[in-house]
């Protein structure tokens, strides 16, 4: 286990060290201490390493992550795992706005609640939130899967493209072009896998699926009221 004290080493040294690990590194376990809500912690990683951040992080923790497994042993600020490509990021506490924004791959797990715009513009990432999510989540979400074990706020999935949304609790309101859909066996299977990987014991059968009605995919004057 390698330990980096952020308060002592500074952000540049931390990221430079973590980014310089390659696929063959034998330094696979990293502990970051004293994050103190700093921004851009462990961004741009590209190696199969495990990084644990002991405390809460500021904006964009784990941004553009590839391959690495990052655990925030605290809560995460806005834009955690933004544009993640692959790997896994786990937030033990809560996450602020835009968690997993534009993420293209990998798995983001939020053990607490996520704020507004969770999964905004997601492009292939899988996100599992053990608690609730705020308003405008999955706005313009293109692909990937958002799983919410609690409730969802207003305007879920507004202007949704092809992302799949699963919510166990209530949905305060659906956004434009987002509709409730049937759960088919393949959705149960997909959910089962994601919940297991995210360490949740929720039952897939208890979830409701939401997706795009695909009515806004082409301009149509009769839909103008939806915009």
């Amino acid at each position: 286990m390698q330990t980096i004290d952020l308060a002592d080493q500074g952000l540049r040294a931390l990221n430079e060290t973590l980014q310089s690990q390659d696929s063959d590194t034998n330094q696979t376990e990293w502990l970051v201490t004293n994050p103190r809500g700093s921004h851009a912690i462990a961004v741009g990683l590209d190696a199969p390493i495990d990084v644990t951040i002991k405390g809460s992080t500021g904006y964009y923790c784990g941004g553009m992550n590839k391959q690495a497994s990052i655990t925030v042993d605290g809560s995460a600020g806005p834009g955690v795992a933004e544009n993640m490509m692959s790997g896994k990021i786990v937030i033990e506490g809560d996450a602020s706005q835009y968690a997993g924004a534009t993420g293209r791959g990998g798995l983001l797990v939020i053990k607490g609640n996520a704020s507004s715009r969770c999964g905004i513009s997601m492009k292939g990432i899988n996100i599992v939130v053990h608690g609730n999510i705020g308003h405008m989540s999955a706005f313009m979400a293109q692909s990937g899967t958002l799983v919410v074990c609690g409730d969802a706020g207003d305007a879920l999935g507004d202007s949704l493209y092809e992302a799949r949304l699963f919510v166990r609790g209530s949905v305060k309101s659906l956004g434009a072009d987002c509709i409730k859909k049937d759960m088919r066996p393949e959705h149960i299977e997909l959910l089962r896998g994601l919940l297991e990987e995210a360490g949740s014991d929720a039952r897939p059968e208890d979830f409701t699926r939401y997706g795009s009605a695909r009515k806004l995919y082409h301009f149509d004057i009769d839909n103008a009221g939806a915009y």
């Binding site: 540049r12 553009m64 544009n83 513009s121 692909s143």
Partner: protein, 451 residues
């Protein structure tokens, strides 16, 4: 003919009023009303503002005279190089000429068109820029210096392309549509375009107008920190804004940590946007330069943070005027497209078949471009030879640089950056006020001092 007939000639038709077209309800206006009534949707088109606005044409250089010495036109050196990104980036960009090629997306443009832009810019010693569709191999491979746009849509965004870019341009807005997002209609969402954007093929795609994970300059400062951390503080970071509030936008971009600020006026083009947006939102390029320069000067950052101006730059004279007003470089989009063949009269029959004419064609979103530039149709794309297109762009860029040098030498300057507002006068009161230079033949700069 008796006297009566002589004094009373037969009545002819009474004099009639000449048919007068209304200036308010002009034929183009009426045509648009009929089009809207028939279709029920606003007009979408490409390009920038077509209306006449005060522009570089309304300025003149004074030249050398008794109190200014000119430089010899073909002998004495007049530098054109520029360095962008010297504030924070470890690897600033050095360009031979102060003219860059602006961001245009793969998707809006064909692969060969992007290749032609890359080839031309590289041969001319300057940079080209990606767009809303991500980075293609065509343009990375053929662009020695490539600026990678970081856009609200984040289509194709990934850390590997960020690292192989030569600079990053965070796009807050563009002159054609400050406050609007991109638009690419289904006809142009080919399988390749769809794949790069993670979207289903054939759907109308409306890009976001706001970034998904930051709002405002305080957030942007943190976003820029993240981008620098991901790229090891190597890349210059540009912030591009539409010509909305250039003084404050420039100030806030500098505050957020930009190395370079790009200000794009309303004549700057777009691949597709509502005509009402293009023609009615944003300020003319000429009106944006002095406020942006003033912001940099007030911060003590002029020349430290570089200013790139774009929107309707067409010639070396325009380049020289923008630089004289304080810009470090200019950027061209529409002009570069015309150089590689856009709206060329050789395709007049094809333009006529589309109900338009060479020079006026702007339905780029429909994907039927006769010149093969703004299309994803393989047969049309094949009309553009990227090697020949690149050569034409190179020539055009070189001519613009030569023209700017010609003017600079005439003003006695050994670097185009030494041009200054004092070298200029304005032909109209409006241009004098916007550019902050005297009306020709007077010492009057409207808006400064008193009457």
């Amino acid at each position: 003919m008796d006297d009566h007939q002589k004094n009373n000639p037969p009545r002819t038709m009474p004099p009639r009023t000449m048919p007068i077209q209304s200036a308010t309800f002009s034929n183009p206006v009426n045509a648009e009303i009929r089009r809207a009534a028939a279709t029920g949707i606003y007009d979408i088109r490409g390009g920038g503002a077509k209306r006449r606005v005060p522009h570089f044409d309304d300025l003149l250089f004074l030249g050398a005279s008794m109190s200014r010495y000119p430089l010899e036109g073909y002998r004495e050196k007049c530098e054109t190089s520029v360095t962008l990104g010297s504030r924070f980036a470890k690897k600033p960009i050095h360009l031979d000429i102060p003219i860059t090629v602006a961001g245009m997306s793969f998707g809006a443009l064909s692969g060969p068109a992007k290749e032609a832009l890359g080839r031309g810019a590289t041969m001319a010693g300057t940079s080209t820029t990606t767009g809303d569709g991500g980075m293609t191999e065509e343009e990375r491979g053929h662009s020695e210096k490539l600026i990678y746009q970081y856009l609200p849509s984040r289509y194709g965004m990934n850390p590997d392309d960020l690292r192989r870019a030569d600079a990053i341009e965070v796009v807050v807005g563009q002159g054609a549509k400050p406050g609007g997002g991109g638009m690419l209609l289904g006809q142009k969402i080919s399988d390749r375009v769809a794949d790069m954007r993670d979207l289903p093929p054939g759907i109308d795609q409306r890009s976001a107008c706001r970034h998904p994970d930051w709002t405002g300059p305080d957030d942007l400062e943190i976003k820029i920190l993240e981008l620098r951390e991901i790229t090891g503080w190597e890349k210059p970071i540009y912030v591009k804004v539409g010509g909305a509030r250039p003084y404050f936008d420039t100030t806030l971009a500098v505050k957020a940590g930009a190395d370079v600020v790009v200000v794009d006026g309303m004549q700057g083009g777009t691949a597709a946007t509502q005509d009402v947006f293009i023609e009615n939102v944003g300020q003319p390029t000429l009106a944006c330069i002095r406020p942006a320069v003033k912001a940099l000067q007030d911060l003590g950052m002029h020349r430290e943070v570089q200013l790139i101006v774009s929107g309707g730059v067409r010639s070396g004279a325009d380049v020289a005027k923008a630089l004289a007003l304080g810009a470090d470089a200019v950027s061209i989009g529409s002009a570069a497209m015309i150089a590689i063949g856009d709206n060329d009269p050789r395709w007049e029959d094809d333009y006529n078949a589309l109900g338009t004419t060479a020079g006026a064609y702007d339905d780029w979103h429909e994907g039927n471009d006769p010149a093969g530039i703004t299309t994803q149709d393989p047969a049309l794309m094949a009309r553009l030879d990227p090697v020949e297109g690149g050569r034409r762009l190179r020539n055009y860029l070189k001519v613009m640089a030569l023209e700017a040098q010609t003017i600079a030498r005439a003003c006695g300057k050994n670097h185009v950056h030494n041009l200054e507002p004092e070298d200029l006068c304005a032909l109209t009161i409006e241009a004098a006020a916007m550019a902050g230079v005297p009306l020709a033949g007077t010492s009057w700069i409207p808006g400064s001092g008193s009457f």
